[in-house]
Each structure stands twice: as C-alpha cells, then as structure tokens.
C-alpha cells in the first residue's frame, strides 16, 4: 500500500488520528424469519475535535450506527476502532467502562435520572467510577459546567421541574463532565421547538470549539446541515459519497 495519506479510508491500516474508524460495518436485525440489514457496509472516520452531522431520512440507520459507535450495541460484521482500540471483543462491563471514560451521550428524550437533581445528575457519571473522586473538586467542575450551559440557577431542581431545553442542557453537561473523547447526540433536538433547538445546537457547537470535544450528531433535519462543519449523509444503511 503506497499512498495511504490520501485514501486512508480505503486501506486496512488503522488511522491513528481518528477517534472513530469504521470499516465495512454491517448490522443485521433478525426479526423472526426475516432479517433487516440496517447497515450494509459503512465506512467512515471522525477525527479529533470534529463536529460531524450524520444526516439521513428516517429508517436510514443513524441510530443503529450511533449505538454501535457508542458501544451500546455490536455490529454483525466489520471493524470499529474507538480512539485506536478495537472494542468489538469487550464484554459488558468492559464496554461500560469504555462508555464511562470515553463517550458522552445526549439523547432525544433527555434521559435524566428522575430522582436526582440537576447537580446530582451531572456528577453521576463520575460517581459510578471505581476510583475515589475528590467531591469538592467535582462539585466545582459541575458548577462551572452548569454556568457554561446556563443552568446555575437550577442546580437544585429536579428534571420534572425543568423545560425541555433546560433538560437537554443538563444532559449536555452530564455528557461533558467526564471530559470524554467523543459526544454522541442522537436527534437531540427532535423533542424541542425550533428556537430552543437552535439554542441547543449553538451551545453544542460552542462547547465543541471551547472544549475541543469531538461531537457526532445524528438528525434527519436538513436545516442542521448549515451549522455543521462536516456532514455525512446516510441512506438505506450506506454512507453516500459527497
């Protein structure tokens, strides 16, 4: 293999700079006797610090792809390297650790823990770690993040006392508290009105720049395209060439 620099996605050598490196990824859902091929040989890479939007119509395979990237699900075949490591052979608890240390999740329906208040929700990912946390220092970081996402007045509130936009801000802060290598957001604005959506998008982009955190954002809303530095189109389980 000679010219690896320009055609890195076509070679078999792993790309050392890529946070996400996916080769020929396939996912087949078995539904009784029929099977659905949700991903049919996806290749793509995401480099550190990128803000990438995965755009595709409903049913195109965005969630399937993000679940595999987020180590929540396994591919049927193909390789996936997260931060240079092949995670396909890890067991449940090892994957849990990978998720905790490397990935932040932002969900469409926020998924905050209802019995914890804003502050507790945000610090939760750090508290489930094996090693002892410096609670004072952690609280300080939570406070700083709260300020960054505009929640400093709501730290003692519980999720059901917040608006949708505020809840998503909590989720964003929770995704960032662990200083992850990668933040995955699957349609984070689908449950929000367009004005709030814009604010959330703007916030995520700002955080992407300020923290240099890699964002991968899945949506079927073409409006988001304009905001993204990079767009990956997906259709029928295949990444479309630009």
């Amino acid at each position: 293999m000679a010219n690896t620099e320009t055609h890195s996605t076509l070679t078999n050598a792993p790309n050392a700079n890529a946070i996400i490196d996916i080769r020929d990824l396939r996912k087949v859902y078995q539904l009784g006797k029929t099977s659905v091929e949700a991903l049919r040989g996806v290749n793509f890479e995401v480099s550190e610090g990128e803000f990438t939007v995965v755009l595709g119509p409903s049913g195109s395979g965005k969630t399937t792809l993000l679940n595999i990237i987020g180590c929540l699900d396994r591919a049927t075949s193909g390789t996936y390297r997260l931060d240079g490591e092949d995670v396909s052979q890890r067991d449940f608890n090892e994957l849990a650790e990978v998720r905790n240390y490397k990935i932040g999740f932002i969900f469409q329906n926020f998924n905050l823990i209802p019995v914890l208040n804003v502050l507790e929700n945000i610090e939760f990912p750090c508290l489930v770690r094996k090693e002892q946390q410096n609670r004072a220092e952690l609280r300080e970081r939570v406070r700083a993040l709260c300020a960054e996402v505009g929640l400093e007045r709501f730290m003692k509130h519980r999720p059901d006392e917040l608006s949708g936009g505020q809840r998503q801000r909590v989720a964003i802060a929770r995704a960032l508290i662990t200083q992850p290598r990668l933040v995955l957001a699957d349609e984070p604005t689908a449950n929000l009105d367009s004005k709030t959506s814009d604010q959330i998008l703007e916030l995520m982009q700002r955080l992407n720049r300020q923290h240099d955190t890699t964002f991968l954002f899945a949506t079927h809303d073409p409006r988001v395209m304009d905001l993204a530095r990079r767009t990956v189109r997906i259709k029928d389980g295949l990444v479309q060439p630009d």
């Binding site: 608890n93 849990a96 998720r99 969900f107 905050l112 823990i113 019995v115 489930v128």
Partner: protein, 426 residues
Amino acid sequence: MSPLVFMSARNLARNRRRTLLAMGAVVVGLCALTVLRGFVNSVQQAQLNTTLLGTTGMLQIHRSGYLKNVLSNPLDLAFEDSPELRNKILSAAHVRALAPRLQFSGSISVNEPMASDLANVGDAKTTFLTANAVDPELDRQTLPQQYEWLIEGMMFPRADSLALVVHRDIAGPLGVENVAANLQQPSETWPVVLAPDRDGSLSGEAFNVIGLLGSAVPTDKRLALAPLKSVQKLLKMDDQITEYVVRLDDVVHAAEVQKELEQRLGSDFEVSRWDEILPFIKDLIGNLTNIFDIISGVFLLVVMLGIINSMFMNVLERVREIGTMMAIGVKQGSILSLFVVEGVFLGALGALVGLLLGAGIVQLMSLIGIPISAPGSSLKFILRPFLTLDFVVTAFSFTTFGAALVSVWPAWRASRLRPVEALSAI
C-alpha cells in the same frame, strides 16, 4: 455514602406512593405476626405456669420406681417426710420452696337430710376423689397458681384441719356447693371421706367442704385438696408422704438441680422434671410453637411475594432509566445491587414499622388483658400477651434477609437488560 445506596434511598423516598404501597404489605404482615406471637407467648406461658406453679411443680421427688408404677397404689411407695430430708433438698442451689404431698384416692359421700328416714337409708350421694393431702402453708409457697383457682370459700388453715377444698363440679352434685352454708353445719352432717389404707382396709372421717376450685384449664375434676396431717392420721400413715414438689427460682435450672438432688438423695429416691412427668404438656407447647412457625412461614412468604411483585413493578417502570445508567457506564453488578439495596430498605423499614406497630398493639392488649376460657374449664383466664427480644430480632433479620434474597431475582433481570433495548423503551 455510596452513590448507589444513596440512589436507592432516594428512589424510595421520592416514589413515596409506590414505596408506601410496597411497604404496606410488609408492615401489615409483620404487625399481624407480632401480635400473633405476643398472643401465642401468653398462651404458652399460661400453660407453663399452670403446670409449673399450679399442678405439677418444676421438680418432684418420689421413692424410686414411682413414675414407672403410677397406675398402682401410690401409697405403696410412700416415704417418711423428715426435716433432714427437707433440708437436703432446700439447701440445694436454685431451690426456692418445697411442699410435701400425700396422694390418695377414696370416696366422698353426703347423706340426704332425711337419711334417718328408714325408707331412705343408704340414699347417699357418693363420688370418687383423687386428692392431694398438703400442708397449706408450704403448698401455697410452692404452687401459688393453684390458689387463683379457689373461686369460692377458702383454703383450710392448718394441716390438721378437718376441711376439704374440692372442685366446683363435684360439690354441686354432692349438694355442698354453698360453702358459706357449710360453715354453719354441725360436723355430723359433713361429708364423709372413705379411703383405703395401705392394707386395703377402709377408714372414714368427716371433712367439711370449705372451698371450691375452678380451673382455667381442663384438669381432673376429681382433684381435691385435703389437710396433710388429718389424712395421714386417717390412713394411719403418720409423717408419710408420696412426694415432694419443688419450686425453683427459674425453671431453666430444672435439669441442673435434678442432677444435684439425685446425687444428694441417693438411689432410694427419684427426681423428675415437670416435662418427664407431663411430657404431653411439653409437646403441647412445642406443637403450638411449630404451628406458629408454620403460620409465620406462610406470612413471610406472602410478604416476600409482595416484595418481589413491587420490585418487578419497580424495574419495569424504570427500564429506560436503567438503560440510561448503563449508557453512562454503570456496571451490571451495580445495577443488581441498586435494586437489591432497594429491596433490603423496603424489607428492613417495613419490618421495623410492622414490629413497632405490633409491639404497640401487644403492649395495649397486655394492659387490657384478654379474658379467655379454655374448653372444659370453668374459670376465666386473663392472658397478657408479651414479646421476647429473640422474636423481634429473628423477625427483623428474616424479613430483611428474605427481602434481599427475593430482590435478587428482579434485580438480576434489571441488570441483564440490553442497553439499546432498555434505552428505546417508552
């Protein structure tokens, strides 16, 4: 506090309605169990007291071979009641009181008022008696419970009185149930006790009936109390008795004192514990315990089913939350312990409240007292329910441990959820 224990406590505190509902089952179950235990305790204690302080005593001392020959004439195995013998027994540790008894049987008859009328000669009312001839003072010290069954009249004052205390159901047919009236009667009209002595020849003596026994438990209605000295004279058995009844400071020392007395008294005598004399009473109490244990088991089973049910509801309601925790990086073991801890909290808290509530009710019942009458008995008996620390500790730990155990099942199911599916649950 570990974040998971904290979360469990939070979950229970913040889902108050569900928690109260689930705890309700535990509280009601434990409360009912506690009240039942208190009641059973008092029944068992009443049975035990009747035996230990009313009829049999804690230990009995007889001539060797007595228990093997209970059916033969007890008088054959009589022995001499001497101060030295009494001292030997009384000086042993834990012995609190001692009562000599002479067991005998005979008949008691009352002549009709018109017995002088020739036509009615022999028209006497007669019934059989198995009597304990006792020293009233010593008997009261040794078997105090007996005197609570003295429902009318009084105990004869001295061992050489010519008076009897008989069961009410005997006095009625004999026409001597009016003890106040009996006291006014001249000795010629008193009932006559006829008893065979050791040689089998009958002797008779007139005794006035001055007290009536009722009993809280079905005992032999022919049982009567007679003055020891008078009976010894009647039977020509001066200073002879058939047994000593021994009261200890606490019945738990029975076996120990039994050994000690056997050594002191030698092979001429046998020392028997109450449960050797009346094994069926011990069985009765044991059976009650077994029945209670079975009922407790059923109660606890129902309580545990309640906990399993509410824990499954709990898991089901929180599938997406579980998915979220898994995505965030909570491991399977932690999800498992999260729900087990919740189950333990439910069990422990429910048990605590149930026990407190139950203990309160037991306390109240004990203050008021529950009057009961056993079948076949003529006396109302006041039961005073009580609890032992042993029961409280056992009930609490069984419930808590059981809750932990049964929570493992729903908790395990929660921990085995697949993150993707859990996250997409509605």
